[in-house]
Symmetry: C2
DNA sequence: AAATATTGGTTGATTTTGTAACTAACAACA
DNA sequence: TGTTGTTAGTTACAAAATCAACCAATATTT
C-alpha cells in the first residue's frame, strides 16, 4: 500500500483509542479511590466473578503475575480485599473483596457500565457489533 | 445494563487489542534497531511527513513533550536524525532524518504496511471501514 | 526599556512497569 | 526417601513513564 498514513496504522489507532477511553474512566477509580488500573482490574474480577486466587486473575485478566501481586498488596493495604491460604494447598490464597471493597466495586461497576454505554452511544448497533467482534479478534480472546 | 462483563467494557477491550497488536510490531523496531515505541513514532513522523519541530510532533502524534524530547535525544545518539536551530526563532529546532535514519524509516514503513495488511486480512472490507471509523472517533481524531 | 508572561524544550525526582531471580509448597518419580 | 521439577507468589533491580520544576528565547504589557 502506498501513501500509508499513521492514522491508517491499526496498532497506532488502537493505542490512541485505548489511551483516550481509558483516561476518561481513570478519573473514577483514581479520583475517588486512588486506585491504579491494575487495581481496578483486580477489583472488577473479584467483584464480578467472585473470590479467586491471584493466578486465576492473571489468566482471566491477562495480567502479569507481578502486576497482580502488587495490585493485591495495594488493595489489601486499602482494606478492599482479604486473602486466605487454602488448607489443602498452601501455595494458593483465595482473594475476596471486603465489605468496603464490595461497595467500591459496586460504585465503579455502575460507572463502568454507564461510561461504556456513553462511549457506544455514538455508534449504531451494527457498528457496535462489528467493533466488538474486531477488537475481540485483535485482542486474541 | 445488567450482567455487564469485563469483555464488554470497551476501554478494556481496546487496551487488550492495542497491547497485542503493538507487541507484534514491536519486534521490528525493537529487534532490528533497538528503538522504543516513542522513537518509532518520531521516526515515522519525520519520515512520512518531512522535517518538523519537536512541538509539531507532540501535537500530531499526541505525545507529551518529555517523551518526544527523550526520543529525539536517543535518535540523535543513534544518528538517525539531526537537529538545527531555526534562525528567526532560536527556540525552535527543525528535526530531520539522516540518510541512515531514512533507511530505517523505509524499512519499518514497509513492515508497518505489511503488518497492518496482515492484521486486517481477517476482516472484510466493510468491517475494516467500520473499525477504522469507530477507532477514529474513540481516539478523538 | 523594564517587567511580566508565554513558548519550546530539557532535566530531575518520583512512580509505575518489566525482567529475572528467588522462596516456599507441592508433585513426580527413581 | 531423596532428588528433581513445577507451581503460586514475592522481591530486587533496571527500564520507562509521569509530573513538576526549570532554562533560555521571544512576546506582550506597562
Amino acid at each position: 500500500m502506498t501513501n500509508f498514513d499513521l492514522r491508517d496504522f491499526t496498532p497506532y489507532l488502537l493505542s490512541l483509542a485505548a489511551e483516550t477511553s481509558s483516561a476518561g474512566f481513570q478519573t473514577y477509580y483514581k479520583g475517588r479511590y486512588g486506585m491504579l488500573r491494575t487495581e481496578w482490574r483486580v477489583v472488577f474480577h473479584l467483584g464480578r466473578y467472585g473470590p479467586m486466587t491471584a493466578k486465576e486473575i492473571c489468566d482471566r485478566a491477562r495480567m502479569h503475575k507481578t502486576k497482580v501481586s502488587r495490585a493485591v498488596s495495594a488493595l489489601e493495604v486499602k482494606r478492599y480485599l482479604s486473602r486466605r491460604e487454602q488448607a489443602k494447598d498452601r501455595r494458593h490464597e483465595t482473594l475476596r473483596l471486603t465489605a468496603e471493597g464490595g461497595r467500591v466495586f459496586a460504585d465503579l461497576y455502575e460507572e463502568a457500565a454507564r461510561y461504556d454505554a456513553e462511549l457506544l452511544a455514538q455508534f449504531t448497533d451494527e457498528e457496535h457489533v462489528v467493533l466488538q467482534k474486531c477488537l475481540t479478534k485483535l485482542a486474541g480472546i
